[in-house]
């Protein structure tokens, strides 16, 4: 299968990647394997760390699964793999951990005229910036530091891994108002399009490239000691958009550009970076992830005529209040509603239903899912992934604007979990987790009893949640 290299730049990039991973885990369709590359000088950024850990879990889980014709399971179907030799999906920026920007540019080795030019372009504050936690909303710093990308070993590895048939694609996620993302996106794009040095420079420079640029959707609390100031977000956005117009859209170096933003903004704590920069998941990030999927699923020929521009719109914005599936457009609903519902049902079962005696159920016994399985590494990873998923839903639900498709903490009645969708129920018959177990215990058609336990486990839950979703909701 062709690959889509997804460059997530900065904090936004990491968070969008996280949403993307969640969607892929739930089985949202993607026609390409994903190769994430995180570009963020702040390697201790909590968002990045969370995303990296999530992707590792995804890979561990997926490595135990097969997706042959006979398998119906779509959970974790899309492949996620790092660039060869790239550690933890991260493109490591050299020389940003110790010292300031002035040290990076070797200020003290510059001649006077160059120094003067530098002083004109960069403020003292900029020159004294500690780059360990990123560029703190200064794309001017970022655009210098990120130049090293083109000559890095990681780029060479990326290039070597690119498919010869030219069908692999690239997608870049960045925020337009930040520091790392704002500077990194155009630089990365230029580097790729102007590649003449790498082994596969021709296919790379001619491949389909898409990007999502995330407009301001949150602010930070005012902190005079912090270099991050959300009052500059709009002005920076404007500057960047002007630049994109001439240097990106204008020269057709991109095949598809997705814009996403929101007038309703949340306010986060002002944190310059590091492990403190841990923002709650936001609906915008999910929409940005949808952009990635849209690009991956668009046929080749539709990306041929210059840069296509895309925006995202809600069917109904509910006057700025919390959103559910009912407020989304049909295309979005069609692509994410059923997979997310299935995945959340699995999540609820593993959190609340399993403890009611899942191990003694027929589905467990028939598939050799015994103590050794449920105390094993695979199941542990699945549970951990689901905890992250649960947390992701809760963060989106408490954010502003809130996205609450599910009552994420619902225990009983189980099937009233989808907000805005009343489940069908029978007066007589099994309910809640009993019904779930009953469905899991079904005699499945074409069941491959010889598959691995991990395979069977995931297949079971996929099929059962699919049946329950069909039965309960008219989606």
């Amino acid at each position: 299968m062709s690959k889509l290299y997804v460059f997530g730049i900065g904090g936004t990039g990491s968070r969008v990647l996280k949403s993307l991973v969640m969607l892929l885990a739930s089985g949202v369709k993607c026609n390409m394997d994903i190769v994430p590359v995180i570009i963020d000088p702040d390697d201790s950024a909590a968002d990045m760390t969370r995303t990296v850990e999530l992707m590792k879990k995804y890979m561990v889980i997926r490595s135990n699964l097969k997706f042959a014709e006979s398998n119906q399971n779509r959970f974790f179907k899309t492949g996620i793999q790092p660039v060869e030799n790239m550690k933890d999906f991260i493109f490591t920026l050299e020389n940003t951990h110790d010292g300031k920007f002035r040290d990076f540019i070797k200020m003290d080795q510059l001649d006077d005229s160059t120094k003067a030019l530098v002083n004109m372009l960069f403020s003292e504050r900029n020159l004294d910036s500690d780059m360990k936690v990123g560029f703190k909303g200064n794309p001017n710093i970022g655009s210098v530091v990120l130049n090293q990308f083109a000559d890095s070993q990681e780029y060479k590895d990326f290039a070597n891994g690119f498919a010869d048939d030219g069908k692999d694609r690239i997608f870049i996620i960045s925020s337009i108002f930040g520091g790392t993302g704002a500077s990194g996106f155009p630089l990365l794009l230029k580097t790729i399009r102007n590649d003449k040095k790498s082994q596969k420079w021709k296919v790379i420079s001619e491949c389909k490239i898409g990007a999502v640029t995330v407009l301001p959707y949150f602010g930070v609390t005012q902190d005079d000691n912090s270099e991050v100031d959300s009052s500059t977000f709009i002005s920076k956005t404007k500057s960047a958009l002007a630049y994109y117009d001439s240097n990106i859209s204008g020269n057709n170096s991109l095949n598809a550009l997705y814009y996403i933003g929101d007038s309703v903004t949340a306010s986060y704590s002002n944190c310059e970076g590091g492990s403190g920069q841990k923002n709650d998941a936001h609906f915008i990030e999910l929409c940005s992830a949808l952009a990635v999927l849209d690009f991956a699923n668009t046929p080749e020929e539709l990306l041929d005529d210059g840069t296509k521009h895309f925006e995202y719109g809600l069917k109904d914005d509910n006057e700025g209040r919390e959103l559910t599936f009912k407020n989304l457009g049909e295309k979005t609903k069609k692509s994410i509603m059923v997979p997310l519902t299935q995945f959340v049902l699995m999540n609820r079962y593993l959190n609340n239903g399993f403890e009611k005696g899942g191990q003694s159920q027929t589905w467990a016994k028939d598939n050799q899912l015994d103590d050794s399985f449920f105390s094993g590494h695979f199941f542990e990873q699945v549970q951990s992934f689901h905890e992250d998923f649960h947390q992701w839903l809760k963060e989106m639900a408490r954010n502003k604007r809130a996205f609450m498709p599910f009552d994420a903490d619902k225990v009983n009645p189980l099937f009233e979990i989808v907000n805005g969708y009343k489940p069908k129920s029978k007066w007589l018959g099994k309910k809640n987790y009993d019904l779930f177990d009953d469905t899991l215990n079904s005699n499945w058609k074409g069941w491959n009893g010889a598959a691995s336990r991990e395979q069977k486990f995931m297949e079971l839950f996929f099929r059962a949640t699919e049946e329950l979703t069909n039965e309960k909701y008219n989606m």
Binding site: K356, G357, Q361, T362, K365, D437, D438, N441, A450
Partner: protein, 159 residues
């Protein structure tokens, strides 16, 4: 010995004379009167209870929450209780109504009814166990109650 009598042939447990009575011994004929033979209906009541509880547990209630071995044991206890009562009552009614043939009357009393109830209960429990062994495999949720199916165990062991 006809088919139904066969299951009650351990006469020494509950009394040979009670066996004669239940088989329909009639002093007037000095022989068994087939019209008085209570074994067929008693056996069918007993089997009926076994089948009903079995079907209820494994196929109608078929609950995902009643899959432990003690749940099965409770269903077995229900079978035991009902079939004990059926057996006991069958005899005690005859004792109280004085319909035991005179030559057997002094041998058939409350204790006989008690022992017969216990016998009928044990018979039912054996049948319930056999039904469990043979017919639970098609139950969606309870087929591994009270213990894992042998076929599943063997299959799992092969893997």
């Amino acid at each position: 010995m006809n088919f139904f009598d066969f299951f009650y042939r351990w006469k020494s447990f509950y009394g040979v004379q009670l066996y004669e009575h239940m088989k329909g011994y009639d002093d007037a004929l000095m022989d068994y009167n087939p019209d008085f033979n209570q074994f067929p209906s008693l056996f069918l009541w007993t089997i009926g209870i076994v089948v009903a509880v079995f079907v209820l547990y494994y196929y109608i209630i078929n609950s995902t929450r009643l899959v432990k071995w003690w749940h099965w044991l409770i269903s077995m206890a229900i079978v035991a209780g009902l079939t004990y009562w059926v057996g006991f009552r069958t005899v005690i009614v005859d004792v109280n109504n004085g319909t035991v043939t005179p030559s057997l009357q002094s041998y058939v009393g409350y204790n006989s009814a008690l022992m017969f109830g216990i016998y009928n209960m044990m018979l039912a429990m054996v049948f319930y166990f056999v039904f469990t062994l043979l017919f639970r495999r098609w139950s969606r949720n309870c087929k591994h109650s009270p213990w894992e199916l042998l076929t599943t165990k063997l299959n799992n062991r092969k893997k």
